[in-house]
Assembly symmetry: C2
């Protein structure tokens, strides 16, 4: 199945007020395209949507056993978390276990996602630190991998650091194309983000979902990552978040991850499929509805979440229902 | 001049990471199309971008003189303000002048725009109130108009309340089409937002910029509104905001106003033109670059702001320049 673009509409009263267009690909690990919409050979920046791939080298390093880490740390390595207390405390404790601290994080500091967290900090007279950065778990994974291999931790965000080279080696293995040849930009957290054809990103996710072609060590790491995302869905995102809801509701069935600028990736191990999508305008609200629509199309969307995830309400300031998001009829609506 | 869609690109490193499409129209008050891009007969919801039009009945009511109001209140009636202390205090004092209070506002309460304001409230153990709502100035104008005409203030946000009927009468006069025939949705602040062909929205702005066809009372109101937006640009938006920068830099030359979901309107009295644009995906970042590009195209963009408004930087968490927004070469780039 191959069709026109992904289209998500935003209504207000009787009017389609806004609309979002994108591309999506569903692949098998061998590169077979099961379904596609739009030009899936377009190169996109995966941003945080490929964090499960970026966590592979960390899990393969043996650091989990060596430092007494668990599912919560693996999930955090795959996370764009909301900077809630449990995220921050777990990152801080983790860095302590490997002999490091927040001062070693090179991701920088941004305000936490939730107003309640911002207010709690202000009331306590405290400031957000690097552990609050939504990428602090991924960066802790990078640091831990460097420690595990006896490499310098400083500069672990640079394109030529062994940590980043290892990510490209994993990516090359999973997607079937040499990732060293990809152009790249600098991600929000400072690491390179590789311009990846959407088709190849979906193939890499399929290789995580169905790792039968991978080395046994790599296949084992993929399985552990999938299990951790389902076991600790809060750690992957946070209160009320799409990734937390889906990963918590579909253990063994689906593992999904959002990325900045409208990217979403997913693994469907039961079906042996990988999914990747990009909304061209970068809108997260649309990428969520698009991922929910794809999950529904593939028959794995939890029935009790269908209405709200396929048709999220648009409410005004006083809470009145004034519209909704929805997949367009021209796509899968 | 009539062309393809408005296109704004977002780059990261060497890659165009995201792109936004929209429509734009530049008209004279007599309905002549001076320039257009995309389908300008598409009906769009103006949201807050037509607040200067919504302020007309308030200024025409005579309430300015009667209640001792000034430019700061007219600018607030046209504002989507950031809920900074001066906005909030001015709204509260204004409502007191007309014998009302925040309890009469029907716009609801949302958190203020700036993290610093949120933190200051939290430190003081205080909560945001309706005066912090970005629309509280517009709603104060509505309430004041009802008081001026001796109408009940309660329910002033409803489609059939005299305040809202008067807005449609003004809109009809300015845009040349019966606004009672427009479909409508409910805006974030509770009032009806009328599905207006973009061409007609631009014509209405042109009628504000060149009010020679209007009654003398209405023409005088348009002139006062334009002057107030230039005289009190902070009141129209707030610290660092696009509307505040442009309206402050171009007295007598341009008055611009943003709206939710990627809408922007502008008046260019020196040229006798009105401008309206809508980014289909609703992205404010793109609507700002599009408005700056149109102002540049029409020769009124302040030279010292050109680089930053046409090519706003994309920075990562640590402040590194990692990309930019820009008009696409296929449009006016």
């Amino acid at each position: 199945m191959s069709g026109g673009p992904v289209v998500i509409e935003v209504t207000r009263g009787p009017v389609v007020e806004s609309r979002h267009e994108g591309i999506a690909a569903v692949l098998k690990a061998d590169g077979t395209v099961v379904a596609s919409w739009g030009d899936i050979d377009a190169a996109i920046l995966p941003r945080s949507a490929n964090k499960p791939i970026q966590a592979m080298a960390f899990v393969e390093s043996g650091a989990i056993e060596r430092f007494g880490l668990g599912n919560e740390h693996i999930a955090l390595a795959c996370a764009s978390h909301s900077g809630e207390p449990r995220h921050v405390e777990t990152v801080r404790a983790w860095l302590g276990k490997v002999g490091l601290s927040e001062a070693d994080l090179e991701c920088g500091t941004h305000p936490p996602r939730l107003q309640a967290t911002i207010e709690a900090l202000a009331r306590a007279g405290a400031m957000a630190t690097a552990a609050f950065n939504n990428c602090s778990g991924k960066h802790s994974g990078f640091l831990t991998t460097a420690v595990a291999y006896g490499e310098p931790t400083r500069g672990y965000i640079r394109y030529d650091h062994p940590v980043q080279r290892r990510l490209r080696e994993v990516m090359t293995d999973l997607c079937g194309v040499d990732a060293d040849g990809f152009a790249y930009g600098t991600d929000g957290c400072g690491i390179p983000t590789l311009a990846t054809p959407l088709r190849r990103l979906a193939q890499a996710m399929a290789s995580m979902a169905d790792p039968s072609r991978l080395s046994s060590k790599r296949a084992e790491a993929a399985s552990r990552i999938r299990a951790a995302m389902n076991a600790e869905p809060f750690m992957v995102a946070g209160t009320g978040r799409f990734c937390t809801r889906i990963n918590g509701a579909l253990p063994g069935v689906a593992q999904v991850k959002t990325g900045a600028e409208g990217v979403f990736c997913g693994m469907l191990p039961g079906l042996g499929l990988g999914v990747a999508l990009k909304m061209w305008d970068g809108a997260a609200r649309a990428s969520e509805v698009a991922m929910a629509t794809l999950l529904g199309h593939l028959g794995v969307l939890p029935p009790q979440q269908k209405d709200e995830l396929l048709h999220p309400p648009v409410r005004n300031v006083v809470g009145l229902l004034v519209g909704e998001l929805r997949p367009a009829k021209s796509w899968l609506g």
